[in-house]
Structure formats: C-alpha cells, structure tokens
C-alpha cells in the first residue's frame, strides 16, 4: 500500500513540475511579447489520507495557472498612455506652426519690415519709378507671404484632418476587436472552466492600451468577464459585444472644420467637445487652439494692413494726379450657413451678411449667430461666451459687435444659426490691387505754407486729409490774418469766401475746409497769409503717413501695431508649444514610471525564470527519485516475499 502511495505522490509531483516547467518555458519564450503578463503555477497539497487517527500527505496538485497583474496599475498605464499621446500629438503640430511663424527669414515679420522699408524708399524719392516699383514688388512679396503662410498652416490642418480620420478608423477597428474578445472571453468563462483565459485577457488589455493612444478611455469590468469601454464623459464605445462607431461630420458648415460624431441608431451625436485625451484629443486641441487661431490672427493682420493702407492711400495723390486707389484687395468676409443637423436652417431663412466696420475692434474669434424666434444672439464659437450686439440706430436688422456690422436676414425662423468667421480666410484671399508703380499715392493732396513775405512768425503744420473725396480738396486756399487774433479763409480757385473773422489762437488753431485739416499758430501778424496749394509729383506727405502705419497702434482697440500683433501671435503659439513640449516630457516620464511599475509586476525576468527552471528541474529530478525509491521499495518487498 505504502509503495503505491509513494508512487502516486511521486507521479503527482512529476506531473505538477512538468506543468511548472512548461509555464516557465512559456514565460521565457514570451519575455519580449508586448502585453504579456508572466504566469505562475499555483501548487497546493492534495487532500491527505486518513491513516487511522492521523492524516498522511498524499502529494501535490496544480490549482491553476495565474497571470500576475494588477488591475490598478494597468489602468494607470492606460491613463498615462492617453495623456502622453495627447501632449505628444499636440506639441508635434504646435511645433510645426511655431517653426513656420517664428522663422527669421520665412515668417511674416521680415516681409512686413521689407515692405515698410520700401514705403520709406518711396518717401525718400517719391517721383522715382524704381522706388515705386520696389514697393509694388515688396507688396507682392508681403501678400505672397500671407498666402504662403496661410497655405502652409492649411497644409498642417489638412494633415491634421487626415489624421483625425485615421484615428477615428483605428479607434473603430480597435473597438471591434475588443468587442470580439469580449465575446470569446465570456464564452471561455461560461464553459465550467476554473482558470482564466490568460492570453485572451492579456490581448484585450493590450488592445485597451492601444486604444488609449488614440483617445482617453475608461473601462468597467462586467461580472461575465467582458468590459465596457467609454470615451469622453461616459459615452459607451464598447458594451459587451456591441460597438458604437465614431465618425466625422461637417457640422459647423465649414468644410475645413471636421466634427466628431457618435453614429448612433438615433442619428449622429456630436462629441467634438467631450472627446479628450489620446492623439485624437491632442489633434482637436491643436486645431482649435493653434491652427485656427494662427489662421485667424494672420487674417486679422491681412485685413488690418489692407484696410489701413488702402484708407491712407485714398488720402493721397498718385503720380498721375488722381486720388490714390486701392493698393491691396482686402477680402470680403463670408458667412457660412450652419448645417448643424439638429437645427437645420430652413431653406427660406436667407443668409446673414456682415462687414468689418472697425478693424481696431476685430478679434481672432469665430462666432455663431443664432435666432430663437424673437431675438438674435451672438456667441464666440468654442467658448460659447456671449457677445453684446448693439443695434445700429436707424437701420433695423443691423447690429455691431466686435468691430463687425452684422445684417440678419428678415426671413429667419427660430432655431436658425450661422457661423461667422470674420478673419479665417483673409490671409489666403488678400491680393495686390495696384500693379502700376504710378498708382502709389505718395503725395499729399495739398500743402500749406506760410508766405515768405509774412512779417509775423506764424507757422502752419500737420496737414491731414479728412475727406479724400471732397471736390474742392485740391483748390488753392488763402488764409489771411485780418488782425493778430482773427483770420479770413478764401478759396482762390472758386473765389468763394469760406470763412471770415475766425478766432486765431497762437498756441495752435485747427483750420478745416474742403476736406483737409491743418493747424496754424505762432505769432502771426495782421496781413500775414498762409497758402494751401496743391502739391506736385515731388511731394512725399502721404508716403510719410503710409510709412508711419508701421508704428501706428490701430489694432486691438488701438493698443497694438501690426508688428506687435504678429509678435503676440508668435509668442502665443510659442508659449503653447513650449508648454506642450514640457507637458509631453512630463507625461512621457509619468508613462515610463507607470510602465515600469506594470513591468515590475507583470514583466518576465529571465534570471528569475532561470532560477525557476533550475528549481522545478531539481524538484522534477527529486520526484523522479521518489518514483525510483518507490520502485526499489517495491522490489525489496517482492524479493523478500519470493
């Protein structure tokens, strides 16, 4: 009896260690398999035999093969993967925009500088055709630089939109694979098996980690062994074996601005604002915070320089003697009819139109204009902040807000809304209007001078054009001092007396007639005259004003010049890029820590496995010896009996 028991114990040990050696070999072979968790054989004693009044041990048995892993640490790795991937992607795109804008040769700043240097060149030599030609070609360069910068940023946003599409299809495919594994794991668990399907579980965990590279996910384990995967604020991507697919749709009406939707049975549900983390989250953030902002900021600059330069140009006289025409073609903004599916505008609603009425108040925001049936409201796209719309007195249906004049359609119905992107495409659409160097209005229309025969020391200065379209702008006008404190103004061209007995103040008197304005002052004597006369082709009065636009602070409510505004953009994108790079580094190291913790629990250590191999081999050899001992015990017994 005893011999057979020993044989049984030896056999049970032999079989158990065989399985242990197999598991160790499996660990060794999967030492470099991604997502593999090392496995361990759990031994337990076989129930003892009752030998009279005590129990005798009856050998060893294998309870199961466990994978060594921590649910908690795994979830940490998944989170860290999503966050890291988000910042890596964000910084990668922000860096591209940053390198483009801040380049010392290819950015906007050098082109802007060369352009205004050429304006100075024209001011230095207003009748030189070559100086004017240089300004025209520098204008072309500037416009070209705007166009190219826009194009390059647009290429970035094209790649970005492409990657959004790729990510979405990767997410869908990973979700399907997870759902399939859910099915397999549930069926493996169902068939009265004690052990876990370790390799299927590893595989599913690896897929969840992979999914986290694309989007931030949360998993919830179910009692049947399946997991549910959620994105955003709890939108279910995978529930058991079912997958709700993500898709892209053009909700804002802007074809360059893809939105994310959940393709549910009930229709598309927009989720752009709630999907975060992963490369998809990083892409959406980079698009909204960097790419769109950069396009809008460039657009505002293009509109700013275009409108301001044209306005000053109109105040001057070109080489042919006519009022200056447009130098740039400033693009007209467009309204996009919103195609938001849940609030489709009626076809009879018409389109809201708007124009830029005050470039100084222009922001880089996009807006959404909506109608609730009685009132119109304007909100900043993205943040949703309400912008006050001031009705224009005397013209119903017109409102001003943030430098825009908006005309709402009279046929709108409740629920209609419109996307307004005032600055988005201006950098793309700005072109040169002037082609002929003679079109540059370098000369001021009139110049005022104190007559040399004056006996007093009165001065005339600061000539400005207020109304370039005034028909009498270039008339010759004489201001005659009728006493030391009064003066008359006569238009010599028409012979009309414009004013008599005007009060003169020696500290400076503003005189404004025929569309111009000037200041006279000083100690003028009775009988002194000041003559306002049309200028010739050698005058550079308006060119000096054009050159002064470089330093003029007319943007952002009169606080920033063109250069300031561009530097702000560069600094803004640069700061975002740097923050993203720092975040990317931080989260890379957090991911490394989490991975190393996960690996320290689940990873295979070959030295450990080597030791196990030796341990189990020795135990196996010992068990074999037990069998051989049992055999010799049996032989001894046989020999004794025979």
């Amino acid at each position: 009896m005893a011999g057979a028991d020993i044989l049984g114990i030896g056999t049970s040990a032999l079989l158990s260690y065989q399985q242990a050696l197999q598991t160790t070999s499996n660990n060794i072979s999967n030492a470099n398999t991604d997502g593999y968790s090392r496995q361990r054989v759990d031994f337990s004693t076989q129930p003892g035999d009752l030998a009279g009044s005590y129990y005798l041990g009856s050998g060893v048995q294998v309870d199961g093969v466990q994978r060594i892993f921590s649910q908690f640490v795994n979830a940490q790795v998944t989170d860290a993967t999503a966050t890291n991937s988000r910042y890596q992607t964000y910084s990668q795109y922000a860096e591209q925009v940053d390198n483009l804008l801040a380049d010392q040769t290819a950015g906007l700043q050098p082109a802007l500088q060369s352009f205004f240097n050429s304006v100075q060149g024209v001011a230095n030599d207003p009748s030189s055709i070559s100086a004017r030609q240089d300004l025209i070609s520098q204008g072309n360069t500037l416009v070209g630089r705007f166009n190219t910068l826009y194009q390059q940023i647009d290429n970035i946003s094209g790649r970005l939109n492409g990657q959004i599409g790729n990510d979405v299809s990767n997410i869908n495919s990973l979700a399907s694979q997870i759902a399939k594994l859910n099915t397999q794991i549930v069926s493996a668990n169902n068939s009265n098996v004690v052990g876990q399907p370790n390799d299927l579980l590893d595989k599913r965990d690896a897929l969840v980690n992979k999914l986290a590279q694309y989007v931030s996910v949360k998993t919830v384990s179910q009692s049947d062994g399946s997991i549910n995967v959620m994105v955003g604020t709890g939108q279910a991507l995978v529930v058991g074996a079912d997958v709700t697919k993500l898709g892209t749709a053009n909700l804002s009406g802007d074809p360059n601005q893809l939105d994310l939707v959940f393709k549910t049975q009930a229709g598309d549900v927009p989720v752009s604002n709630i999907v975060t983390g992963g490369s998809l989250g990083g892409l959406l953030e980079a698009r909204d915070q960097v790419v769109v902002q950069a396009k809008n900021a460039l657009g505002r600059l293009a509109i700013g320089i275009g409108q301001e330069f044209n306005a000053q140009q109109a105040k001057g006289i070109d080489l042919t003697g006519s009022q200056g025409g447009d130098f740039f073609n400033v693009p007209m903004p467009t309204t996009v009819q919103n195609s938001y599916p849940s609030e489709n505008n009626a076809s009879s609603s018409g389109v809201a139109t708007y124009s830029i009425s005050d470039v100084g108040k222009l922001t880089t925001n996009d807006y959404r204009l909506s109608y609730d049936g009685t009132n119109w409201s304007l909100k900043v796209a993205g943040s949703g902040q309400t912008v006050t719309m001031t009705p224009v007195t005397g013209s119903p249906g017109s409102y001003t807000a943030d430098g825009l004049t908006i005309n709402v359609p009279t046929t709108a119905s409740a629920g209609d809304s419109f996307s307004i992107e005032p600055t988005r495409y201006a950098a793309r659409d700005i072109t040169m209007a002037a082609t002929d160097p003679r079109e540059i209005a370098a000369a001021a229309p009139v110049v005022g001078t104190a007559t040399q025969t004056n006996t007093g020391t009165g001065t005339i200065s600061d000539m400005q054009t207020l109304d370039p379209t005034n028909a009498n702008l270039r008339d010759q006008v004489t201001i005659t001092m009728t006493s030391a404190t009064t003066f008359d103004v006569v238009d010599n061209t028409t012979g009309a007396t414009l004013a008599t007995g005007q009060a003169f103040n020696s500290s400076g008197t503003t005189v404004s007639f025929n569309g111009w304005q000037t200041t006279i002052g000083g100690n003028a004597a009775s009988g002194d005259t000041f003559v306002i006369a049309p200028t010739g082709s050698g005058d550079n009065g308006n060119a000096l004003q054009l050159a002064a636009l470089q330093q003029k602070t007319f943007l952002q409510g009169g606080t920033a010049s063109l250069g300031d505004t561009y530097s702000q953009l560069v600094a803004d994108v640069g700061t975002k890029t740097q923050a993203a790079q720092t975040d990317a580094k931080t989260h890379q190291s957090l991911l490394n820590q989490a991975t190393s913790m996960q690996q320290s629990i689940s990873g295979v250590n070959l030295d450990e496995e080597a030791a196990n191999l030796l341990k189990y081999q020795q135990a196996y050899q010992a068990s074999a010896k037990v069998i051989s001992t049992a055999n010799s015990l049996f032989q001894t017994l046989i020999n004794a009996v025979s």
Partner: protein, 400 residues
C-alpha cells in the same frame, strides 16, 4: 524592485536615445551658433529676437533715410555755394562798373559778362538731381522752376512745399528749400526800406541805402525828401500826407534822420529833386542782375544820367547784398540740418550696436558653456553605451 528583462533593455535604450537627442541639439547649437535652434526652444526669446530684428531693420532703414537726406542736402549745399560764388562775382563786377572811370563801352562789356552770370544763376536755380528732379521746385519737381520771359521778367513755376524725410521714429528733416525762398522773394533796398531818386531828378544827388536806427520809431510809411532849394529840403510822410521835417539845410554826405530812419545824400541835388524812402519790396536775384545789366547797357551822356546810373547801381548792390545774405542764411540752414542728421546717424549707429548685442545675447549660443555641455553629454552617451553592453551581458543562463 523587481525588474523585467525587457524593461531593463528598454530603459537602457531610452537613456541612450535621450542622450543622443540632447547631444544632437547641442551639436546643432554649436554648428549654427544659435542658442535658439527652433523657436520652441525659447518661445519668449524667439519672439523677442524677432522684435529686435525688426528694430534693427527699422534702425538700418532710418540710417538709409539719413543717407538719402544727406545726399539731397549736400547737392543743395554745393549748388548754394556756387550761387554764392556767382553772386559774389556779380557784386565785384558791379562795384567795378560803378567806378567813375568806366566808359559806356567798358560798362557794356561788363554787362555782357554779367549776362553770362545771369545765365549761370538761372541754370543753378534749375539744378536737377540724379533722378532728373529739379531741386528748387518745391514739390513740382518735374517742372522747370525758373524761366526768363521775353520781357526779361522771371517766373517761378514751382511751389513752396518742402520734402521731409524720416530720420528718426519721431523726427523729420526738410531736405530741400523751395526756389521761391532761395532766389525769388528777396527783399530789396536795405531789407527794411528802399531809397529811390525820382526819375526826373536833374541834380547829381546820390542817395545812400541808409538804415533803421530806431526800429520802434520806424512806421513803415513812405517818405519823400524834397529839395525846395539847392541846399534846403523837406521830408514828407506821403502815406499820411504830413510834413516830418521842413527847411532842413542840406550838406553833402551828412546824415538825414527822421522816423527812425537814417540816410544821406551826396553830390549836388537840384531844386525840385526828390528822393523816396519806401518799405522794401521783393525782388528776385535774377531781376537784380538783369536790372544791373540793363543799367550798364544804358549809355550815359550827362550829369543827370550818370547820377541815375550810380543811384541805380547802388540800389541793385543793396539788393545783391540782401540776396547774398539770404543765400548764406539758407546755407547755414542746410548746414545745421546736415549736422543734425549726422549726429542722429551716429546715435542710431550706437543704438543699432546695442540692439544687435541684445539680440545676440538672446539668440546666440554661449560657446564656452555649450562646448562644456557637449563634452558632458558625450561622456554621458559613452557611459550609457558601455553600461548597456555590460548589463546585457549579465544572465544567469550563462552559468547553466
């Protein structure tokens, strides 16, 4: 802590890759000489460097403006110097012609030389710059400013505009003087009043241009000195019609003073001769020279016509002096503007150097620290590589 074999390998590889990328960055810094290789290395610094570059470029452009202004003013200055020389020569010749030993013939030969001087003056007034622009035409730079009409009057076709150039962000400087102020609107007489003998005078009285001795007593009225006898004269204020002085005794070369005015008459005026003292008018320097030429070309045959000649030449000489004074004033003005530009430019040069050094501090690499960092990183990379091979060689399996 327990480590997995794959992790050990991964960690070492990551360390090596990290070291490599840092080394590459330092190497790029050293090879480009720039601390900021891409703007994201230091966004604030990059934006600042960009602003400084704009300031440097603006500074350079302002210096160029200064150069352009200097070139224009230098041309005006040298033209004015030539004008001054010609006027000086005209003055010398005129004084020579005024000498009593001159004959009608010698005067007329002086007159023909003066005609040439007049032509030079006109052509100097019509000077063009390298772009073919008239420098004394105000803003009408394509129109010839000065022309002589068939009746020997002189017309200015320019305007009184000045071209200003920006030589500093807040400072403009005029780079021309309109021809009207240089050549045309010059006061005649002594600058305040002009003393003229009546055309019908028969005596040999020659009146001095005179001067204002008491400017508060000077009224600006027109006065007439009338000889009631060969040695007696009255002074009338013809503006108000009142008599200022009466029955004064005349003495050749002795001063005649009234209403803040002092002048004198030499020679022997005849009874009934009159001399007028009127406020100065305006006369172009061309007209002055033309008047001298006309006077010298008029032959003299009597005491009266001789007297007229000297009186006339005296008058034109005063006008020439006024013209000369005006040109010297303009030259001084141009000179002071040139000085202002030159001091502005040297300020700008200093400022430019400061801007460049500020920019360099922000964007240029500090070689000493970059090289030591490079050495450090190189050592680090080598150490990482060496330990990697050693750690990878460790395995229990080796001993099985």
């Amino acid at each position: 802590m327990r480590l997995s074999t794959a992790e050990i390998s991964q960690t070492s590889i990551s360390a090596i890759l990290d070291q490599q990328s840092q080394l590459n960055h330092t190497q790029q810094q050293l090879s480009t000489g720039r601390r900021i290789v891409t703007p994201a290395d230091d966004p604030a610094g990059a934006a600042q460097a960009l602003n400084l570059q704009a300031a440097i470029d603006t500074n350079t452009q302002l210096q160029k403006n200064g150069d352009a202004a200097t070139a224009r003013l230098n041309l005006e200055q040298s033209t004015l110097t030539q004008v001054q020389n010609v006027v000086q020569r005209v003055r010398t010749l005129t004084i020579e012609a005024n000498n009593g030993t001159q004959t009608n013939e010698s005067r007329s030969s002086i007159a023909s030389e003066l005609s040439q001087s007049l032509k030079s003056l006109l052509s100097l007034g019509n000077t063009r710059d390298s772009n073919g622009e008239y420098i004394f035409a105000g803003s009408q730079t394509t129109t010839q400013p000065f022309t002589q009409t068939p009746t020997n009057t002189f017309v200015y076709a320019g305007d009184s505009a000045q071209r200003f150039l920006q030589i500093d962000s807040s400072r403009q400087v005029a780079t021309n003087d309109p021809g009207s102020s240089v050549f045309m609107q010059i006061t005649n007489g002594n600058g305040t009043f002009i003393a003229t003998p009546a055309a019908a005078n028969t005596g040999s009285g020659i009146i001095d241009p005179g001067s204002v001795t008491n400017s508060s007593a000077y009224t600006g009225d027109t006065y007439s000195i009338q000889f009631t006898a060969a040695n007696t004269y009255d002074v009338m204020d013809t503006t108000t019609g009142t008599t200022v002085l009466s029955n004064q005794t005349y003495q050749s070369d002795s001063s005649i003073s009234f209403a803040g005015i002092q002048t004198s008459i030499s020679g022997t005026p005849a009874t009934g001769d009159t001399f007028t003292v009127a406020p100065s008018g305006r006369q172009s320097v061309f007209q002055t020279v033309q008047n001298i030429v006309d006077t010298l070309n008029t032959p003299t045959s009597s005491v009266a016509s001789n007297t007229k000649l000297h009186n006339s030449i005296n008058q034109q000489l005063s006008a020439l002096d006024q013209a000369l004074g005006n040109i010297i004033n303009k030259q001084a003005g141009v000179g002071s503007r040139l000085t202002a530009i030159s001091s502005q430019q040297s300020l700008q040069q200093d400022w430019g150097t400061q801007l460049k050094s500020a920019q360099s501090k922000i964007q240029d690499v500090d070689y000493a620290s970059a090289i030591s960092q490079y050495q450090l990183q190189l050592t680090g990379l080598e150490a990482a590589q060496k330990t990697y091979t050693q750690v990878q060689g460790l395995s229990l399996f080796k001993y099985l």
